[in-house]
Point group: C2
Amino acid sequence: MPKAVVSRLSLYLRELQALVRDDNKTISSTKLGRLLGLTDTQVRKDFACFGQFGYPGIGYRCEELIGEIRRILGTDRIWPAAMVGCGNLGQALLGYRGFQSQGFSVQAAFDIAPDIVGSNFCGLKVDHLDSLPAVVAEKGIQLAILAVPADAAIEVASILVKSGVSGVLNFAPVTLNLPKSVSVVGVDLAMELEQLAFAVVKKGEK
Amino acid sequence: MPKAVVSRLSLYLRELQALVRDDNKTISSTKLGRLLGLTDTQVRKDFACFGQFGYPGIGYRCEELIGEIRRILGTDRIWPAAMVGCGNLGQALLGYRGFQSQGFSVQAAFDIAPDIVGSNFCGLKVDHLDSLPAVVAEKGIQLAILAVPADAAIEVASILVKSGVSGVLNFAPVTLNLPKSVSVVGVDLAMELEQLAFAVVKKGEK
DNA sequence: TAGATTGTTAATCGATTAACAATC
DNA sequence: TAGATTGTTAATCGATTAACAATC
């Protein structure tokens, strides 16, 4: 499965779910492409990577595609996850409903600040970071959302690795160099704004 | 400038800034590549896109590269920005220091909830959304950070467009189909977790 | 000089697009 | 049947990598 395709799979999934919410049963590659800014050919080629799902003359059945994409992404099951760092951002993310609906369940939260440890956010009690290894093992947590300050990120990440976590979603603006066995996806808000600034500048030049 | 290169520019910038903080004056393509998981050839090829900056036998001067990358991205100036939506996520983002340091200054914040409008976050008073067009014009705001609920995003985005904003950083999990004159960068936290889940599943299969 | 490292060419690899027969 | 749409081939385009002469 080409990695360019995988990165679009989540995009297709989100759009297909919106289509189903609006009571669409089927969608053509042309219409789906237009919604997402892709060509019809690209949509069909992407879907062809995992089988023949289309109905010539009709299009694709939304529900069928959704199921298939979730299976490929691995979100046809529930992933237990941990929120690591419950400051501003961590608290906001704990309140985000979108994780749950897409197959993720935040089942533990950690911090080290005395005024945060022990408090409750969205029905989840914040534990001390020291108890992370035990809780991760006990609850079978595989994914961690890392929302600690930049200067703590590398150290905390190594605790995550030692605890046996297999994936880290990193919100700290630092490069995490973890063992190959652990996957990392980084989200850097300043970097995203930079890309936006570039797009605006470029458009201005044209 | 190839767009694959642009997306790495922010990554180079962040790493170079970290190197400068650690008192490094120069860095070779091999070392920088190793830090970021890229090949030395790719690093050199990327930098070659915007001139000859390297010193054979020595490497690249960090400060010089930083200046050049900021100039290209357009972050050698300050971009006035607006936070649109000051719920959980918006408030957390207002508290984030990283924007400021990279060339972005959030100079206005908006919401519609009566208990939020008028309150203060990080020294910024939240205005009612109705006053957005006037404030955007007055302060010359070009970028908006959209942190409203999914079902409000499209409507609010169209207000942004009418107000003359040229770039939107969209945190709502919906596709924004805006005029070509407006740039959009989307950050969808559930999508990022899906990509992480896929990476973990794939690794497990190998 | 010897060692380190760049800039660049040519080769390879992967992704996108155009076109169209096959299908419903 | 006519119209809509898929799946797939071949062509094009863009990005990455290997190799190495040139430079400090």
